[in-house]
């Protein structure tokens, strides 16, 4: 169980990240904490990509994804960086408008 390391091990790490990220999204009121949760979820996905593209983890050294996995991870990272930039700009704006980072205060669009 502890060794050798298989993709399933990586998948478990991914699950932990995903679930914690989700809980983070659901329980935090701070807009930046929510952003942090999103980052966790994205990283969960990245771990899965890498797990499926890593020859080291497969006994016959033949993973189902090779380049595709890594390149998708790259794309995810870049998009995450972009998302973080925009989200932070929004957060700053939010802060300047409402004087707080509590997203529950920003319910002007409520019905």
């Amino acid at each position: 169980m502890f060794s050798p390391i298989t993709p399933a091990h990586y998948l478990f790490v991914g699950i932990v990240l995903f679930v914690t990220g989700m809980i983070c999204l659901l329980t935090k009121r701070n807009i930046i904490a929510i952003l942090i949760g999103v980052e966790l979820i994205l990283n969960a996905a990245n771990i899965n990509f890498i797990a499926f593209s890593s020859p080291v983890l497969f006994p016959k050294r033949v993973p189902p994804l090779v380049l595709d996995g890594q390149i998708f991870v790259l794309f995810v990272m870049i998009l995450a960086a972009a998302e973080a930039a925009v989200a932070l700009a929004i957060a700053l704006h939010f802060y300047s408008r409402f004087g707080t980072v509590d997203v529950d205060q920003g319910d002007e669009l409520k019905g």
């Binding site: 659901l26 009121r29 499926f52 019905g111």
Partner: protein
Amino acid sequence: MSSLSLVPQLLLIAWMLPLASFVFIFLTGSFLDRRGRASGFIATAAIAGSFLLSVVAAALWFGYYPLDSNHQASSHPIRPLSGDWYTLAEFGSIKLALGYYIDALTLAMYVMVSFIATLIHIYSFGYMHEELHEVNDPQVILGDGTTLRRPGRFARFFQYLSLFGFSMLGLVIANNLLMTFVFWELVGICSYFLIGFYVERSSATSAGNKAFIVNRVGDFGMVLGLAALLTSCGTLHFDHYQTTNGAHYAGLFFYAKAIQHPASELEPAEGSRSEDSQSNPETPPVTLSGPKGLTYGLLVLAGLALLCGCLGKSAQFPLHVWLPDAMEGPTPVSALIHAATMVAAGVYLVGRIYPLLTPEVLIVVAVIGTITLFMAATIALTATDIKKVLAYSTISQLGYMMLGLGTGGWVAGLFHLFTHAFFKALLFLGSGSVIHACGTNEMPQMGGLLRKMPWTAITMLIGCLAIAGAGIPLWAGFSGYHSKDAILAQVYLFHTTNRFLGWIYYLALVSAALTAFYMFRLWFLTFIGQPRNEHIFGHAHESPKSMTVPLVVLAFFAVVAGWSVPGTHWSLSALLEQARVTPLLENSQVPLFGNVVIPHEHESHEAQIHQLVSLEAFTAGILGFAIAVVFYGARWLDPAKVCQRFFGLYRFLLNKWYFDELYSRLFVRPVTWVASVAAWIDRAVIDWTVDHAAVAVRSLAHLDDWLDRILVDGAVNRLAAAIYGMGEWFRQWQTGRIRNYILWIVVGLVSLFILGSIYFGLGMHLVVGAS
């Protein structure tokens, strides 16, 4: 060929240096402006570098093909270097490329353009120094009555000069008409920018617009010519070229040649080239491209169309009207662009595409050149603006060149181009120096400046002598003497063979006298006599070194450009002789006008013609000079009284033959009339209809409104109330709290997973295994 193979590379670098300077100044201009003259140094260094490289290239070339006294290529068959640097696109045989076509003419133009441009760059340091600081432009009155104050544009000026240098060199080196056209337009836009350099002056902007629009008229014809040649020959390259897949194709010159000699149509190459290709087995066979729809008539039409462009650029009748107005630009610009180089581009292009021009076209060239030359000379007689005089003189001299080319004097015309470049640049720079000192363009305000500005006066005197063609007959003279006599000799020959066109020669001769007259009128009015405006005279001073040094250098060349190097036969005309192209003139017969013969240029070199013409021209020049002395030098006669006597003629000339008015009547007024008619129709007919239709619709609407309120609104309001109630219920879900939304997303996600698991089993092959 090792030394020659460097030539294109050298010229490429020489060509790119001004571009680099332009880009650099463009990017850093605002920064450089604050640091003073840095931009000027950069631009000058770039163009001076171009000059040095051009000289090296020329040295390589003439080292390989030495000039020979008998105008024959001796050691090697002379073969223009042609090739492509950069291919933009290829469609079958059609190749759009940036390339080079290098022969002695190209090299001479390169050296001349970069040399004069260098001098003018240096001159501009002095002339444009005001632009280094904030400029107070007294010619622009703002709404509140004050004059305009604006930041200096030193960097911008040099940026445009650099761009111009790049464009002009590109135009010169182009190996296909498309590239020519591109750079043709680029020099046009540079000219436009620089004419409108003082963009706040309405006169400058309208002069810029005028130049641009008039040139467009000519360029329209040029585009037609390009289209005709491209569709009929399938190429715009002058010479043979190679596509990227390795096939060789023939160029325009070959097609023109084939038209002339139908027998040689299927031969791969013409003239010396075919011999060369036989002797050199490495030269691959050439394939003919395109539909080969070129006929003689089409060639004539294409030639005329291309000529339109040349007329526009070289300010020839009837498209000459823009050039005098273009003098609104700064004087170095006038010297560089509107006297020495750009306007000569039209002449250069005629020279370059000479093999494509049929004799019919050449006659048109000759006739237009003659008309221009005479007309401009007469207008110059009465102009009082010093730059306007020079502008008309430029037009007139360009007419000489056209005349020379049109009558078969290829070398003579281009020779005059070069000499004219030197002395006209000199004259313009001198006038700039005067304007700089006096602050006015008006000659009646000047006078007696010889004492104040000896360097300027003397160099300008040399320029006047050069343009008037002064010299000792049959021996030597100023540069203008050699070139103008060559043209006149050719014209004389032409008139001896074609008597019914004899007036051309006499007009040219009369204009030579006029030239001498108005040039010395200019000089006398400016530098001799009593100062007519003490205030201006008091402030006048000799210009700084940066302005006088170029004057002296140019004066030197204005004197010696026509001479051959002592002890050798190396001279400018011999150099041009080396580049001579004469394929279409070989039978000298003009098919459409049977009895017109365009004479060979060599025949005009015969001593008897030469002596006769030389003496006649000398006499004409002396005559003009004498009249000038009578009126303005010694003031034996009062010019004002003579003007009174011939008031009608005077007014006719003063108003420039009423060309502007003519164009206004012919083109501008009809258009405005049509526009006013259209406006009337719009107001009276269409508006009326619309107005009344509106009244009708409005009454209908009132009716509809009533129906609407009673019937439709009732139904709609009921519906809206229902929907509103629904919305009230739904909006309770819309909490505006992001976490609630996320919660629902996750709920949906989990249910999706569960559903998926039920349908596909719990194994999740959906996610990984199934693919």
